[in-house]
């Protein structure tokens, strides 16, 4: 079940303080509708890892990902999507002059995909024993967006979940995520907490979406 709280959506819509009357109810209605029409899917595969690169020879670029996956015995590649309905709905609403609803739908979808990824990663940890890292996506730290190409190829995302990568590195449908997840053998379905939250690890300090520490 896809989920999004009003608080998360308000933050995504960059509304601070007390929301204007009616907005909360509109968000609740829209969240229900979005959960009904979006079609989430994910694909997760486990690959051998020698501490620096995958056993098939693929070595992701950047120092942050290596640090993240250090001491892991295997690495899971993860890809998830809400399907094509968010793109189609936003476009349709915009075209018919409902920019308010389009913006709300887009914001809810942005929240839902992250929550969906969180839930799927938690379920993975329960299914497989061991200790898992938090998921690490391209664009985090110094992991270039270009690494998505290999992830999508190794997971065959067009065929498994209908996610394509454009030449410019854009995932299509837009509300899609790819990530690396590392696993150590000991432990039982634990997900390691990274220091601080996702935003604190990132350099873009003037990002309008930067979390205030409650993520």
């Amino acid at each position: 079940m896809l989920r999004a709280t009003v608080k998360q959506v308000l933050r995504q819509m960059r509304v601070r303080g007390v929301p204007p009357p009616g907005l909360t109810e509109d968000i609740e209605t829209a969240v229900r509708e979005c959960a009904r029409i979006f079609t989430p899917r994910r694909v997760i595969r486990r690959f051998g890892w020698n501490g620096r690169e995958f056993l098939n020879g693929y070595a992701p670029r950047g120092n942050d990902i290596l640090r993240h996956l250090s001491a892991c015995e295997s690495v899971y590649l993860f890809a998830a999507t809400l399907g094509d309905m968010p793109d189609r709905e936003c476009s349709r609403l915009m075209e018919q002059g409902s920019s308010y609803k389009a913006f709300m739908t887009d914001s809810i979808a942005a929240v839902m995909i992250e929550n969906y990824c969180d839930d799927e990663c938690a379920a993975l940890a329960v299914r497989e024993s061991g200790t898992f890292t938090a998921r690490f996506s391209c664009g985090y730290g110094d992991l270039p967006l270009g690494e998505q190409k290999e992830i999508c190829r190794m997971l065959d995302t067009p065929r498994t979940i209908g996610v394509h990568l454009s030449e410019s590195g854009l995932l299509m449908p837009q509300k899609s995520v790819t990530a690396f997840i590392g696993r150590k053998n000991e432990g039982n379905g634990v997900i390691m907490k990274t220091c601080g939250n996702k935003c604190s690890a990132c350099d873009k300090k003037d990002c309008v979406y930067r979390a205030g520490g409650d993520e």
Partner: protein, 786 residues
């Protein structure tokens, strides 16, 4: 040596081989990114797998060409394909060899960036390279545009039999929402066999197959996966269970079975025994012929009254004519959505104006409308070039409106209907002119039906239009039309279609006559009324008919629809009173983003306020107050947008009375740059800027730098807005700016997008950095001075 697969399929059940990819992975892990390259580097390995499947008893060997198209394999594509077919041919000389065409890996518009033509070109090249195969298997398709591109490429570049197979997800639809119904309706005319493969195991596919065999007259193919893979790529279903399901499929009437991912020669051997056990059993067909049309995601069965919305047609509609001439797609979008919301089942689209090049505009209109709504479309044109282009663009099974009894019309349009599998409206008029009697109408109808039959078009795909003549001019014709409808339905399996509003031309209180005629026609057997669903009495007539004829079981739909009939329905959210909101009703409604602002505007205009005064003294300042409060942080973006939406409806009211009142403070070109499809920011900017009185030329998303320059040059544009949301596409923004600065130095450039900063914007040469939509308005004012 080539073999006749079509003849074999006619009399035999067929066994395809099993998975290639998963078997290859078990034999070697040196596969690389393009497995088809092994056709050149390890042909003996490829041949080995083919031999194993041939020995296991497969009738058809799929050549190793699944990903060999040029989008995935590059320039080597043709060479890899010819090598693959040669290898298969020599490894299995007495088997049928299939050219196996998988997806290109590109995603079609509008969610992706690839056009139908681009996809068609890729498949056409692959088909030509694979000319030495015995048949073409188009498989693992999940997108209707890509499927159609592949099937048409196969049909138009080869005489080989073509099989169409789609991949369905657990919800019973493909990733892009294609259903078994829309797949069967669209693909059956374009292929020799249709079916499903991949993604799901046989148990999960069974319900889909049970549906599919009732939906197509063509032989059905099923190639399931060996169950669903786990995270370690292990497939759960074994060969025995797989074979059990194959037996179920064959008993349902499936004619071709095989295996997809996770299956092996062991599976094929077991399937061989199952297929052989059906050898003396006659073919079973579960097909139920039904009259239907569809879009990519919605099928409409004509087994009751189905309303065709008539509004997207410039004939006699000034606003629509202006919209088409001016490229005002938003107006067209609202018409499409309003008709759908009012209960239309199908939408008519017509771009017939002398000023327009119909053969380019009609397909564009079709592409646009099918993005906005999932209702099937009726392509309204008699120009065969326009109709063909529109059919190619149309992602489903369309209606062509129309042919008539003249040979010229029949011979130019019936072949198109047959080729693309469209339904066709037959107008009962011919070279002798408009018929006087019911007999004449029937005669022409039967001529059309007979001619269509020569092209293989069944009666259920023919919709006869018995013509509505003006009762004021030819009073007796109303009854003749009704009689013709009754008789043609009694004598044939056709459906009937009719536009009703012409009946009352020249009379007062037209809607009274229209409504009565519509009701009479429905009782005479009219299936597809063409009307304006926004007029309440039209949908009321249909609803009442459905109750009285028994179509609306237990009157349930009627009871629900009209339960609150006497009460005014307020359609927008209830914002409670807030401080800070203006007190005047119009300004308050805009500030709070209410739809009632439009009614307020209409009332004010009716009371005599000049449109120009209303715009300049009420609407613009109202928006200004919203913008100011947004800047102060009193209102946030959602409220700004709700106000903008509300204001737009007010401006639409003004435009209805005085198209020029909203004026034009200046023309602005907006675009999301090449490689980027994030456009919500740009669209928000467009909405707000339009409300402030600027004319926006919106080039859309993924726009080439040259296209931006061309648009700016064309009208000597003074302000251009560019958006980009990814670090990888910002260079394209820089390139666009450079080109603009060189070719159009008079044009100022503003940029926006979460990935940008003031600093970076300056560095790439932009004149303005927009951190939010208010900044856009400020810069526009600076550039245009108003």
């Amino acid at each position: 040596m080539k073999k006749d697969f079509a003849a074999f399929l006619k009399t035999q059940r067929v066994l395809f081989d099993g998975a290639f990819g998963t078997v290859l992975q078990r034999k070697t892990d040196k596969i690389g990114t393009v497995p088809e390259r092994l056709n050149l580097t390890r042909p003996e390995l490829i041949a080995e797998i083919h031999r194993e499947y041939a020995a296991a008893g497969a009738d058809v060997i799929s050549a190793n060409t699944f990903g060999a198209n040029r989008a995935k394999a590059g320039a080597d594509s043709a060479g890899l394909i010819t090598a693959a077919i040669e290898i298969a041919r020599s490894a299995a000389p007495d088997k049928f060899i299939a050219l196996d065409l998988g997806p290109t890996g590109l995603l079609a518009e509008p969610v992706g960036t690839s056009s139908f033509d681009e996809l068609y070109g890729i498949f056409a090249d692959a088909v030509k390279a694979g000319a030495n195969a015995d048949l073409i298997l188009v498989e693992t398709m999940s997108d209707m545009t890509e499927l159609r591109a592949a099937l048409l490429a196969a049909r138009e570049n080869s005489a080989l039999p073509v099989i169409a197979s789609m991949t369905f997800a657990e919800g019973g639809r493909t990733f892009t929402g294609v259903s078994p119904e829309t797949f069967a309706l669209t693909a059956s005319p374009l292929a020799d066999a249709v079916g499903v493969n991949c993604s799901l195991g046989p148990a999960e596919l069974l319900p889909i197959v049970e549906k599919l065999v009732t939906l197509t007259p063509k032989p059905v193919i099923v190639q399931a996966n060996a169950g669903l893979p786990d995270e370690r790529s292990n497939y759960a279903v074994g060969a025995d269970e797989f074979a059990e399901y194959a037996e179920k499929f064959l008993a349902l009437g499936v004619r071709i079975v095989g295996g997809c991912c996770g299956t092996t020669p062991e599976f094929t051997a077991k399937l061989r025994r199952v297929v052989d056990s059906f050898a003396d059993k006659p073919f079973v067909s579960a097909y139920v012929p039904r009259s239907a049309v569809c879009s990519a995601t919605k099928a409409v069965f004509i087994d009751g009254v189905r309303v065709i919305g008539e509004r997207i047609n410039p004939t006699g509609k000034k606003a629509m004519k202006q919209a088409l001439l001016g490229g005002d797609m938003n107006y067209i979008a609202t018409q499409a959505v309003e008709q759908a919301d009012a209960g239309a089942d199908i939408l008519d689209v017509n771009a017939g104006l002398p000023e327009l090049d119909e053969k380019t505009v009609l397909p564009s209109l079709v592409r646009y409308v099918q993005k906005i709504t999932d209702l099937p479309l009726q392509i309204d044109s008699s120009d065969s070039a326009a109709v063909e282009n529109a059919l190619r663009a149309y992602n489903g099974k369309a209606i062509i409106n129309s042919v008539n009894g003249e040979e010229r019309s029949l011979s130019s349009l019936l072949p198109l209907a047959a080729k693309y599998g469209a339904a066709i409206v037959g107008l009962t008029v011919d070279e002798r002119g408009v018929p006087e009697t019911a007999d004449d109408r029937i005669r022409i109808a039967e001529k059309i039906i007979a001619r269509a039959a020569e092209f293989g078009i069944p009666e259920r795909d023919i919709y006869i239009d018995c013509l509505t003549l003006t009762v004021g001019a030819q009073q007796e014709q109303a009854c003749r039309t009704l009689e013709a409808i009754r008789r043609i339905k009694a004598a044939h399996d056709v459906k009937t279609v009719l536009g009703v509003s012409n009946i009352s031309f020249g009379l007062p209180a037209r809607r009274i006559i229209n409504s009565a005629f519509l009701t009479a026609a429905l009782w005479a057997g009219l299936d597809l009324p063409i009307l304006n669903p926004g007029l309440a009495e039209n949908m009321q007539a249909v609803a009442a008919y459905n109750v009285l004829s028994g179509a609306d079981k237990a009157c349930a739909e009627y009871a629900e629809k009209y339960a609150d009939y006497n009460f005014a329905v307020s359609s927008e959210t209830s914002y409670k009173k807030t401080d800070g909101a203006p007190s005047e009703p119009l300004e308050r409604a805009i500030y709070k983003g209410l739809d009632s602002a439009a009614a307020e505007t209409a009332a004010l205009l009716d009371s005599g306020i000049s449109p120009l005064d209303l715009v300049n003294e009420r609407l613009i300042p109202a928006l200004g107050k919203v913008g100011d409060d947004y800047e102060k942080g009193v209102l946030f973006l959602p409220s700004l947008l709700a106000a903008a939406d509300s204001a737009k409806k007010c401006f639409d009211e003004v435009k209805k009375r005085m198209p020029a009142a909203t004026g034009n403070k200046g023309n602005i070109v907006l675009a999301t740059v090449k490689g980027d499809v994030h456009d919500i920011g740009k669209n928000i900017a467009r909405t707000v800027l339009e409300n402030y009185g600027y004319r926006i030329i919106d080039l859309g998303k993924n726009v080439e730098p040259e296209a931006v320059v061309a648009a700016v040059e064309k009208e000597h544009i003074l302000l251009c807005g560019l958006s980009a949301l990814m670090t990888t596409t910002v260079p394209n923004m820089a390139e666009t700016i450079n080109l603009l600065k060189t070719r159009c130095p008079y044009c100022k450039i503003m940029v926006g997008g979460a990935v940008l900063t003031e600093d970076y914007a300056r560095r790439i040469g932009a004149d303005f950095y927009c951190k939010d939509v208010n900044a856009d308005v400020r810069f526009a004012r600076e550039v245009f001075g108003k």
